[in-house]
């Protein structure tokens, strides 16, 4: 197994799938301004996915392009977190999903900018700028909705309770991570989880939301075992490439 390839696909797939989910909002946002904002997020993620998957293809050395990787793998070969494939739900669900993910991504990229792999460091540096803005946006919304009306509070608390079970996977690490850390390709991720908890708890407290005590772990995405939702995402994502194989668009 090529650990670097595997790692890049994990990063790329997270961006690809959450970008896809966000793009489903286009035209359906709660107000025009927010519709535009969510599309901006989505565009950032599609850009990140393109960069990571392109590099993954190069590292693999089999001539696969970013599009081959994004569009022509089977479900078991996608390596994204279960969190990012969860359905949009209402706007609050989307915001909570985004917030939990952004908080993780910011800390992750803050480390990856120190990667000895120059390409990873460069993609991380660009992505970090975007992620800081994403996190600001999602944190502010979590606070507004949490500390807004009774209804909004209840809705986001429910979303948080629903999504919390997918957060332990954010810190999933296996032989892939071990090898890359050992080889000095990526820095150690020690302390990532506690830093994430601290930053998430701070926002949740301001939002008057309760940190769920459900510690059940749902994991599998990093190894290609997904929830039922991914299949439907891929059915749409891959439709054209599967229906008309091998054509230029």
């Amino acid at each position: 197994m090529n650990a670097l390839f595997e790692y890049l696909v994990r990063l790329g797939d997270d961006s690809l799938i959450i970008g896809h989910r966000l793009s489903e909002w286009c035209g359906h946002g709660p107000i025009l301004e927010e519709d535009i904002a969510m599309t901006n997020l989505s565009l950032d993620f599609i850009g990140q996915a393109t960069s990571f998957l392109k590099y993954a293809g190069e590292v693999e050395g089999k001539g696969r392009t970013e599009d081959d990787l994004a569009y022509l793998r089977f479900d078991r070969d996608y390596r994204n977190l279960l969190l990012v494939e969860q359905p949009n739900g209402d706007f609050g669900m989307t915001i909570v999903r985004q917030f939990l993910f952004d908080a993780y991504r910011k800390l992750l990229f803050e480390r990856l900018i120190h990667s000895k792999d120059e390409t990873i460091a460069a993609i991380a540096a660009k992505s970090l700028k975007e992620t800081k803005y994403h996190l600001k946006h999602s944190s502010e919304w979590v606070i507004r909705l949490g500390d807004g009306t009774e209804e909004s509070h209840q809705r986001v608390q429910d979303s948080l309770d629903t999504l919390w079970r997918y957060t332990s996977e954010l810190f999933y690490a296996d032989e892939v991570d071990e090898k890359l850390v050992k080889d000095g390709v990526i820095p150690s991720m020690e302390g990532l989880e506690s830093a994430w908890k601290a930053s998430v708890n701070e926002v949740l407290a301001e939002a008057t939301l309760k940190v769920p005590d459900n510690n059940w772990k749902h994991e599998g995405g990093r190894k290609g075992m997904h929830s039922e939702h991914l299949g439907y995402i891929l059915a749409e994502l891959q439709y054209m490439q599967r229906a008309y194989p091998g054509l230029e668009w």
């Binding site: 025009l32 301004e33 927010e34 535009i36 901006n40 946006h137």
Partner: protein, 95 residues
């Protein structure tokens, strides 16, 4: 208040360092933070700005267009405010 529309904000963008902020339009936002972020997303999608101001539209006080004559016309006669009013001897190129 159930369905109260978000307030209107006027947006001003500094397109690059060294220029004034310029009015570009308006948008709706519940608070100033949101107005700034929305302004970024709406009015600077093509890197049109380096700095954003938002002002709640109900805080903008405007002159009455009917008074335009008395507000602006008098300065038309103050030609001494313009450099071309003054004669500069030949041989001096930049002043």
């Amino acid at each position: 208040m159930a369905n109260k529309e978000w307030p209107l904000w006027e947006v001003f963008i500094r397109s690059k360092q060294g220029l004034n902020h310029k009015h570009v339009g308006s948008l709706r936002a519940a608070d100033a933070d949101m107005a700034i972020e929305n302004a970024r997303d709406v009015y600077t999608r093509r890197s049109e700005g380096v700095s954003i101001w938002v002002v709640a539209s109900n805080n903008v006080f405007a002159s009455n267009p009917g008074d335009a004559d008395s507000l602006y016309e008098p300065s038309d006669s103050k030609i001494y405010r313009h450099p071309t009013f003054y004669e500069v001897p030949d041989g001096i190129e930049h002043m």
